[in-house]
Symmetry: C2
Subunit: 292 residues, 2 copies
């Protein structure tokens, strides 16, 4: 089958970015959200991203703005899903909310539609049956779309295997590197590794083995990376990291979750609140001389 | 105290590099090894590194070769340790061998000498008493010296705290980023995080969640790194990784250790044997198009 029409559910950060890239890649795109304000905001953010891409990559601003003007922004589910070849859902990361959305869109979508969820921490099997089309249901998980260009394709046990190559091609057409998560795995591929190394960093800190700065320095110098685990945590958000960490039963994870909670309770969620392990906008780890 | 004279024990890969950097930084250097052939080889490797540095960095080849000509290469312990302000030991990663060496050098070193071990996996407390000078004994662990320019300073519980700033300064003078490991920790700082993320990658592979290539792609794209966990494992050596992994009691580590053992038994140790998870000299992950 050939995908032409893309329906994005949820006009938040990720939905906005997937919708924009779909439009830039030549798809006919509709963005649905219950909130008209969110839809307005989504369009504004798209225009900002296009202007940034015009500076940083070869994108022509006019072509980008044209692509945006072709997108349907709507709070009407029937308009959004009309003729959709694929739905990619990025609504609130809440099982109840996602199930409500899938119950509705499973009913009103055309027969041909492929159903995909962009969930970060939940699993497709939690919504597949609710959609009423479990064989056509799969996770299609984007990271950042424009910076980290990778997309996870993660079927649940009832997903029709024929969907996989279609989604691989779709991912490539959006300029992403598609990777196959052969069975359901919380954290897909990258997040599993990310949280493992960040957990090890947390263990070094709570175990008083080394300082925040020295742990970051070790990572940055050895891997020639622009930030270490605590700089990365500030970018991810300490609240997001806590949601994953506090569910892990081992002692080290619990100690680290407790430390994260202290920062969170003090309003220190990372870059977005101006303070986390470092203070922003000029964190120490980005200062010249940090590695001297 | 001011360090002027550096004594390196063991003319292997790391000893050779620490000795060369010490000479380039203006120290008077002696390299000791029981094997005259190893000493000859060490000098040849130093000359190769200098020629590479002359191409890749600002080093003048002649100045580098002059620095090498000032190094004393000797199989005579008394000559090596004569007037040494600091010893850095990089002999075989074996408790028995290291204790033999420290027993000898602890006796013949001058009163002023600081004793440091470059051990990768063992702990300074295993040799501190044998040296006869536990308060002056500390781990001083280099990574690669010329690429990964970080040095771990890891005291044992009996190390005199006054040693720390001296070793920090010494590390900086060798153009390394010094980091303090406040108490003994196997794997120091970086290796703890490295093995955690590599263990997570191993779990994804043995759990049949994703392929070697897709796991590496996820890491490479998200972190914009030139290799992923299995490419990195091929560089480290699967045998080295197995030595760490097989000692971890959890099920996932045991499964990954068993997989590593299969590769090792088949002679696939990684880049050094021409094959590991990838084949060399042109591994798939370095081919153009791997991330398409």
């Amino acid at each position: 089958m050939k995908i032409k029409n893309v329906c994005i559910l949820g006009a938040g950060t990720l939905g906005t970015r997937v919708a924009l890239q779909s439009a830039l890649s030549g798809y006919k795109v509709a963005v649905y959200d219950i909130s008209p304000a969110a839809l307005d905001n989504s369009k504004n953010i798209m225009e900002k991203i296009v202007r940034q891409l015009a500076k940083s990559s070869g994108l022509e601003a006019e072509a980008g703005l044209n692509a945006i003007s072709g997108i349907t922004f709507t709070d009407n589910p029937n308009v959004a899903v009309l003729d959709a070849d694929i739905i990619n859902e990025s609504v609130l990361e809440d099982v109840k909310v996602k199930n409500q959305v899938w119950k509705l869109f499973g009913k009103i979508a055309p027969e041909k539609t492929i159903f995909t969820t962009n969930t970060s921490f939940l699993l497709p099997s939690m919504f597949a049956d609710t959609s009423g089309h479990p064989a056509k249901f799969c996770a299609l998980h984007f990271h950042d779309v424009f910076y980290a260009k990778v997309v996870d394709i993660m079927p649940h046990s009832g997903t029709d295997e024929k969907l996989i190559p279609v989604l691989m091609e779709f991912g490539k057409s959006l300029e992403q590197v598609p990777v196959l998560v052969k069975k359901e795995n919380p954290g897909y591929i990258f997040n599993s590794m990310l949280m493992a190394f960040i957990g090890a960093a947390g263990k070094l800190l709570t175990g008083e083995v080394a300082s925040i700065e020295d742990i970051d320095k070790s990572w940055m110098v050895n891997f020639r990376m622009p930030s270490g685990p605590f700089g990365i945590l500030d970018t991810i958000g300490l609240d997001t990291a806590w949601h994953v960490t506090h569910k892990m039963p081992d002692k080290a994870s619990q100690a680290f979750a407790a430390l994260l909670k202290k920062y969170i309770d003090a309003g220190k969620l990372g870059e977005k609140t101006g303070e986390g392990f470092y203070t922003y906008p000029n964190p120490a780890y980005k200062a010249p001389g940090f590695l001297n």
